[in-house]
Symmetry: D3
Subunit: 341 residues, 6 copies
């Protein structure tokens, strides 16, 4: 077993520090990293970047990267960091994506478009030669097969369900709750939610024919009237979809709305971060249950509606198991959520 | 432009002959194949097979393969056929999958399992070196990215929707119809259906907690009472799921049930083909709208409940466009369905 | 040194169990597998298969596969097993072929044919990424170079020669014995036999012009009259060739006929296994010296003419040496046959 | 011969339009593009981009990309554009880099650094599969071997030399001129300059030991006193180096200073474009001879010291020759400069 | 169809000129090469070589290389020639090996040896990227599968058999002739010979136990007494084997000995070419039937025992068919030998 | 950590023995090789070679190869040696090039030439699969990026500078010394020399227009009159360049000439080794400071002008660090030269 060094790209320090801390009761002291390893990024006058890393010979190297603005710059920085590391001859490299950039561009759903969510894994696997990758709740599960060997997939769904069970059901009667999937994709992606929580479901029908023609047919499928709606999506991006969905739910008679989504990107071309958070706070959504796969600490400092569940322990557990040659399967067992809560 | 030869593996002759016929008004006579090209399959005493093909030097070769029993033997036969063809030095090769075998095994959704739906594309792309592949309604759209370059995807959804519009709405008032998705996967996969037909939707909730606990909550989400339910799934396999869904719909008050699924595999470990068809005919489902992506002629000869829409013209059109260097995008436009009906 | 797990595909349990047992005096207890590791094969209604393996992280994994009917299904099962294993991240994988399927289809000896004996190694090496392969007496030695790195080749020839020396020469005077090669391929493949046993040779001329034209010229080249003919071939498949050869030898005056072939496939399209064995027993061949590279126990249970030399020790020795980083060269030294007899 | 479509990334329109115009007397009308082909870049709220291209089936596609800010975003856009094009199945693709981004990061000259100038070619060749690349005056000639097959290299040195001969020697006596290389790299890179112009040389010694120790030894090697110094470098980036060199030359007694560099990046972290141009105008350099490999029109609109030689004809000639299967060798012959001036 | 250029490495001019000449009635004038294309080989003081080729853009390039001394230098020259050609962007490249160097080192038949006969094809296919290769009578047929796609194999066996039929049977009664295989490899490799000529066979037993032990058993298997022995091997190298075999045949009572081998390497570490030829002339072999796959004109100028059948027409025919997209299968039909005699 | 075996090709024994000796205080005894491992090279009558190596299973294998005549034969021998080793399954392989053959053919600087300096690395990396390579002072630093992962580069420049500082400055006043670069390439390649030694520089202008036209302008740029010129080049090949440069320096008034070049190839097509050394001794060069990257012991036995600095310690240090997973960066620190002097 080799000593461990953990690197991250700029902007991913928050989650990486959290992981580092959680190593304490997991990795044996002789191999445990004392903190984030040093990688210097130099930006030249021509905007080109160059990454230099500290010595990695003989180390098991972990690299953490999550999608943060400026997204494209950080992605190229990731390529540079991995290039620097692999040519510096470590024993092994594990790349961890709390939120993989470009994961939403994962298939050609329009004619003649680029699919960077497919190209990025091939660059990482086939050109840079990374053999181990962990993905946390990717937009679609197939993306793990774009890496070779297949990336390992872990999920925050157990953490989120556990939180709902412990903290929501104490306030709202479980009998009054219903899972509402934001669209068919979320329904497929998070089909375990109603199963874990033993709740009925409703769907929001994003592709319904336009209202003018059949105004009587509702965009919400399922009976949510008088219910506490737990709205499930994989991410909150610009907030527009979430707010639109919430308004529909309110119109449909929902009493409470609790939005639950692992990835809180919270990025909007026309609003500042502060305005976006304020807009969400002023929306009909009563609370947001999210995780820290992307940095949210600062953004949400002033907000009381946001409950952030950290995935740092989950990631630390997954990395530790990889280093220790233990199975990741246990992480998909709801009764094991205590291991990394 | 090179003359065309079209090959198929054993069991795929039905659809391939149909394609050949439809070439008549599409491919110029000088390059049009007169029929299916000769490939002899020799089976030795040790069960090993060897495929020999006729001369392909200077030809644009099309290979058609669909999943037929014995599935595994036919898949190895496909590898052998492609190996024989590529080493015989054709100008170009286009592989067409009306129904790609192993397309359902397209991701690692259990720990430490094989994913042959990922391995088969890599064998075809990376070892055998096939550069052009067409997939018709694969189980999941991401599988096209397992080929390099990305496979082209076409769909029978426009043919099916057009048939419903022309033949069903004349019998059942459109106002009384509702789309029912067999599960979240079908909802995501065929989200265009309600949009094309301007119909409301309902969902069958396959992951609902078990009945004992919350018996009041219905497995069907959405109001189907008194409606003609158009049940959508991507394939009918053993029939068990379809019949179970139909019984649920009946319990929920559906007046009529029309099942619509592109791929009619109709294969059941414990029933003969005839018994399986009879069982489906005796089910609460009033009619089945399917296509001929797998051979169904013989199976359904005696059945009146099954309406089979041929995809031969669609495939012939897609192949012709590939040969003629024309875009396949038009095939995804509902108003163009007349081109290949 | 990593602990060892040994897997096999269905139908290869006989030889794999034998290997496991022979590990007892070879592998240190801490790393020795207690039995064949668990791999579950699920067959769905659509005949697709899925293999799930037990945890292999941190293990040196050995996979044993031999050609058994249904040959093609088992080959796809092997691909699935290897796919499941490699994506479950073992430390190392060694694939062992007592009899490699499709090894006879090892070159393009007719125009425009498939060569699956060339494609299978490329799938295993280039797509699945297996780096270590052991072949036992492949049909042609070149096939080991279809793997990268080159597969390791071992041979049962020393076991067979040793058996003849000990058990045949005690019954038939060595002076009366002659090696007869079944064809030029066998002569090339087993040219060590006469050298090891210090015996003269004769050849059966399989390509002789047809009899009508030059009836006087004999198909047997060399003088076998009054001799005990030890007929050498690499496998007994349908039995037709063996019996034809034996009849020629009888006509040519051979007193006894002892057939010796490592691989006893014993498979015939038109005869049941029992009838095939009976037919061989009733042939002019006095005894058959074979090995258990393919499962023969059940087939030959009732036969007294068949002497089966087990290769389990040889394979266990070769695997052990690979795990222990010892040379396999010693296995090609006749005087070392005692190590694995 | 296939009809041609020419694409460019955003920011490279200036040079691409120029190339398009120069096609007029070069490419036959039937295959000549009428303008830059359409590629739409969509930027989502999460900053991810997606490129969609018009139909390219049956076309010879040319893609032009030069380094413009924001450099990293444009580079990812290039990958997306190439991904979209290659999966849309053109006949052939030619990528043209007037100034290849990251070309200066072309080797590991410090320990454990990234070398994106090596990674970018591998992404383009090995993952995206581009087979034809043209580089104009890369920072180092070896970078062309990072592509497979080897990229084609062309140079603006003949255009620049020709300009000097025609326009400078008419004002300054050739006898008074001297080539001054900005450093050893420039000396190696542009060793043809003094040969083409038949001028003596001087060197600026960038690695001289620090002044305190040996103050008497001059940083300029060679006699420039009273001369018109033609200062050669491959690019003007932040301007600091150029101005420092010019001051040295003035100290050394140079009468005039003419700076000549193909690539005028003109980018400085601490100065606006306008201030940077003003700073250069106020420097001791009398005039700048540059090309338009990066967009300079707007930047230099108000400046009279900058003489910009367009490389559009040179690129159009090189592209035309590639399309017409003609050798590019003639472009390296000084007497042929008239073909593309 | 593209115009053709044909290149060769130094030492292969003889056969290449012959091929060129035979193009005259085969290739249409517009595309026919007028002679061997120019490739200059520069040898520097450090013995490094550099090859420069004339323009190949838009050409179908044929490269001919046969094994000639200095073998290793010529092989590296071939790599250099192919590297120069592929980076100069021809339309297509066909590599033709009348005698492939290192073809005899085609498998690992001793422990831990190099197998350059396996490495050379991988360099040519995988690194240099040559897609079309023709092999004439390789030492073992499997070597063609070391190329990807599989190389095409042609044979001089029909030319040789035809010569024997026409020229030998007129002198020696066919009834008195017998084919003698030099070893088991030759027997396997040339098993068609007795079939084509309808002759009986005998074998020379190269692995027989040493004479002291069983002096009575003959090294020749089969009855050759009083016969005209047509001794078949794939090459004559140092001559020692051939002469040894001939002496055995004489001892065995052979009346005449005619040696027939496609490849006349005629190279001996301890004898000059002249002495080697003289030694062969003085041997008991009455005549040698060989081909010109390696240059023999000069070597055999003075010899009357050597009959050289040119393969130039056969190669020209095979190249022409490849260029014209015609099958090579007809070249394996004995009745078609007239096409290239 | 694995025990070490060190191999070399024929002709590289001198430097390899030196390395072996220097392991003594570096590698722990348990893993230290006792001498050069055995690899037998067999040369057959057809000039083909075959290499056989001793057992390497479980070993960390080091292979040393330097350019020695016959260069091409030794290069093919290297490929054979590496092929034999990699197929014999060592734990790890490190290839060390004191002087990489074909390193000067590192780019396409003329149209349509071969670039074997680019092909050789790809054969070693991509076909043979070597992952670790060390280059000592390659002709151009970019060549290390032709290997994947990037090769490690080390330099003798610190040894040479240290020697000059200790041994030359004691004889010639440092104030009187000047570095003279043999050409622009050497200036770029060895720009550290004047920096390390704190000396001024001059340049020899190899591309100056021919003398007839501007006879007054000097080929030497910089003032060398009365100076001790330390002439720097990367190698001394045929000696012609060195002597020409020296004559220029003498004409320019240099008092002493000390030539310093790491690689002393000393090979001339028209002179014997002895005559070449004599010619250099009789030249105006006062002394030569070289290293033993190529074998020089015998060549220079009689010469007193040559001072040979051994790089054996430097190489032993670099190899040891690689085996011990220590950084090579320290070897690029002038103050650490004591570690390997």
């Amino acid at each position: 077993m080799y000593p461990v060094k953990i690197f991250c790209t700029r902007g991913s320090e928050e989650i990486t520090s959290g992981i580092c801390e959680r190593f304490k009761n997991r990795l044996r002291e002789e191999i445990r990293p004392v903190g984030i390893a040093v990688s210097n990024v130099q930006e030249f006058s021509n905007e080109n970047i160059e990454v230099q890393v500290e010595n990695v010979r003989g180390y098991f190297v972990v690299v953490v990267h999550t999608q943060v603005p400026p997204v494209t710059n950080r992605l190229i920085e990731l390529f540079a960091l991995l290039d620097a590391i692999t040519n510096a001859r470590p024993e092994d490299v594990l790349l961890v994506f709390p939120y993989m950039p470009y994961a939403r561009s994962d298939r050609k759903n329009k004619p003649r478009i680029s699919v960077l969510g497919g190209l990025v894994p091939r660059i990482i696997s086939d050109v840079i030669g990374i053999q181990r990758v962990i993905l946390l709740d990717p937009h679609d599960s197939h993306v793990k097969h774009y890496f070779h060997p297949t990336a390992d997939e872990i999920s925050s769904v157990y953490l989120l369900a556990s939180h709902i069970e412990k903290n929501i059901f104490s306030k709202v009667s479980k009998e009054d709750c219903i899972i509402v999937f934001a669209d068919a994709g979320a329904a497929k992606r998070f089909e375990q939610f109603p199963y874990l929580l033993k709740l009925p479901t409703a769907y929001i029908d994003k592709n319904r024919p336009d209202d003018s023609e059949r105004p009587e047919c509702n965009k919400i499928v399922g009976d949510i009237s008088g219910k506490a709606a737990i709205l499930i999506d994989d991410e909150i991006l610009s907030g527009n979809t979430a707010i639109g969905d919430a308004e529909l739910l309110k119109e449909g008679g929902a009493k409470n709305i609790i939005m639950c989504a692992p990835h809180a990107i919270l990025s909007n071309k026309t609003l500042s971060k502060e305005d976006l958070v304020r807009k969400l706070e002023n929306s009909p959504i009563d609370s947001f249950i999210i995780t820290d796969t992307v940095p949210v600490k600062e953004k949400l400092a002033l907000s009381e509606k946001f409950i952030c569940i950290s995935v740092a322990s989950l990631l630390a557990e997954a990395i530790t198991r990889t280093i220790n040659n233990q199975s990741l399967t246990d992480l998909h067992n709801y009764s094991n959520v205590k291991f990394y809560k």
